[in-house]
């Protein structure tokens, strides 16, 4: 199908560009795109939950933060750890919290679910913010960065490469999961949970599994963030960050994996834009204003996100009135 090929082409081009970026970028550009790729992994984890399963979680930052804090707290003080065991451990820690939160939150639905996930994330925030466990508001430094197969993750090129590789791996994993029986069941739950239950699917275990996996993947993103920056603080778990990642996937386009990619880039670039003193001068410190207005505008005007734009334009240009059909099919595939 022409559609699938153009999507594949887009993804291949995007990863190709990311692979070539270090050749063109200075140290700032390298660091920025590493950060954006971490955001993209974070966004992909949420896309599994919101876009695929229809579970609007407003507390994803907690799992990201737990992965980040685990990286720091579980690193031995005297010698660099191996990421081969530290990364899975961080993901496991995040996944366990996700399992606990999910088990309770999934007993609710709709708006309640949104509020409960937010509240549980806030609980995690308070634990690291107010107790000595997390080093308080000052945060903690990662003194000894881990290594991966002998490579020092402190080096910018190495961490860039590792993040890119992880992003590609997570992308492929989620693409496989989405087309698997499990993924189709999640899509069915989003489309019509009542019918899924009437057919014989116990939907709670499916949702819990998706929630836990999503949390673990967010933990992976958090781990990479901690390794890159060498520093973690409670703001990584703030609900502003949970809101930001939600915006990323909406901005990019809900229901599409590449939407998470596009959205992470778009959001990060928007942030850089509004924060730029070169453009806004002294007003730049009020960058939340521009961001807030953009969020409102994009949710109102871009219902299918940025990846839906080509289709929207095509409809305008060709004047085809098959909008409902396209919308239906678009929503159901990939």
């Amino acid at each position: 199908m022409d559609d699938t090929r153009s999507r594949l082409a887009f993804v291949v081009l995007a990863f190709g560009a990311l692979a070539l970026w270090p050749l063109a970028a200075g140290s700032y550009g390298l660091d920025l795109v590493t950060k954006i790729m971490v955001y993209a992994i974070f966004a992909l984890s949420l896309e599994l939950l919101v876009g695929t399963t229809g579970l609007v979680c407003f507390g994803q930052a907690a799992f990201f933060g737990i992965g980040a804090y685990a990286a720091v707290l579980m690193s031995p003080a005297d010698a660099p750890a191996s990421a081969l065991w530290l990364l899975p451990l961080a993901a496991l820690a995040a996944g366990l919290y996700a399992l606990a939160v999910g088990a309770l939150s999934l007993r609710t639905q709709g708006v309640y679910f949104i509020m409960v996930t937010l509240a549980f994330a806030q609980m995690a925030y308070y634990v690291v913010h107010d107790t000595p466990l997390g080093g308080g508001t000052d945060g903690i430094y990662l003194m000894m960065k881990p290594t991966l197969l002998g490579l020092d993750l402190d080096a910018p090129f190495v961490i860039y490469g590792v993040t890119l590789g992880t992003l590609a791996g997570v992308f492929v994993l989620l693409a496989l999961i989405k087309r698997s029986p499990f993924g189709r069941a999640l899509a069915g739950i989003k489309a019509n949970e009542q019918r899924m239950r009437a057919t014989g699917f116990s939907t709670y275990p499916y949702k819990l599994a998706a929630f836990t996996l999503s949390g673990a993947l967010a933990g992976v993103a958090g781990f990479l963030f901690a390794v890159k920056d060498g520093f973690v603080n409670p703001e990584l778990m703030s609900w502003h960050f949970s809101g930001a990642v939600l915006i990323m996937i909406i901005l990019g386009g809900l229901g599409h994996l590449r939407g998470a990619l596009v959205g992470a880039f778009a959001f990060a670039l928007l942030q850089e834009f509004f924060k730029s003193e070169a453009i806004f001068g002294a007003f730049a410190k009020h960058w939340h204003l521009g961001l807030g207005l953009t969020i409102i505008a994009s949710v109102a005007l871009l219902p299918r996100g940025l990846v839906g734009l080509p289709a929207q334009w095509k409809q305008r240009l060709t004047g085809r009135r098959s909008a409902p059909a396209v919308a239906l099919v678009e929503a159901g595939h990939e």
């Binding site: 029986p181 069941a185 489309a191 019509n192 057919t199 014989g200």
Partner: protein, 249 residues
């Protein structure tokens, strides 16, 4: 007398002070279409929801294939062989007709851990889906998004999705709702075909259709059963005539 596949014993359901279902007993036998009729508010929907497992009864038992399933949630009953169609079309509008049926069939072979497999190439669910769609007369529209089907086709899809799970008992809630004469004939022919292998409960308002297809009829008024038997017996029952058939078109 063929075997009883689904039995409801003395089922009662109260909402606060209101008795929605009042000590109703019903038995569904293989090879029979058992219709439940009654005016609006008679408790038919509540009864079907209790039998399917969506609402618990206040008292009474539900037995499926000889097992007491009163405490079982709906998915568990569905896996044990209980299929259900809804009065308001409950399909996946964004998926194709084939995918609607295939996903339903997948409930028999869920394999959630096989994350590498492509669900749409799975033999088992795929062929079950095609069979079900064919039986329901939807083979021509397998690739159409279900939301774009005509109303009658959507009702057929409701049935097809049930059939894709290979149930033994079918609970059909107003499958003829909103259908014209030709579509009704087609649906009744399908039900007649399905009769042999299944126990079918049919909640319906279309009296002509009911008397054409039903082997047994149960009449409910205000939550209680006022008559139950063969079509002729029910038609001639004075209580039924007084309460229901006389004033009903």
């Amino acid at each position: 007398m063929s075997d009883i596949l689904l039995r409801g014993n003395d089922i009662t359901r109260r909402w606060g002070g209101l008795v929605a279902v009042d000590r109703v007993s019903i038995a569904l036998a293989r090879g029979q279409v058992h219709a439940v009729i009654g005016t609006n508010g008679a408790g038919k929907s509540t009864l079907i929801n209790i039998l399917s497992g969506e609402i618990p009864p206040s008292s009474g038992r539900v037995e499926l294939l000889g097992q007491d399933v009163t405490a079982w949630p709906q998915p568990k009953r569905a896996r044990a062989g209980l299929g259900r169609s809804y009065q308001r079309t409950t399909i996946y509008p964004q998926f194709t007709v084939l995918e609607n049926c295939r996903l339903s069939a997948q409930s028999r072979v869920q394999q959630p851990w096989a994350w590498w497999r492509d669900a749409q190439r799975e033999e088992q669910s795929g062929s079950a889906a095609r069979d079900a769609a064919a039986r329901a007369g939807l083979s021509q529209v397998l690739d159409r998004p279900a939301g774009l089907l005509s109303h009658g086709q959507k009702r057929q899809l409701e049935i097809a999705m049930c059939l894709a799970t290979a149930p033994q008992v079918l609970l059909l809630d107003e499958p003829l709702a909103g259908m014209g004469a030709e579509e009704t004939d087609r649906m009744l022919a399908l039900l007649a075909e399905l009769r042999a292998g299944h126990a079918i409960l049919l909640v319906e308002h279309d009296m002509d259709a009911v008397f054409r297809i039903a082997d047994r009829i149960t009449v409910m008024v205000n939550g209680a059963v006022i008559a139950s038997g063969g079509p002729d017996a029910v038609r001639n029952d004075p209580e039924v005539q007084a309460a229901y058939l006389g004033s009903h078109e």
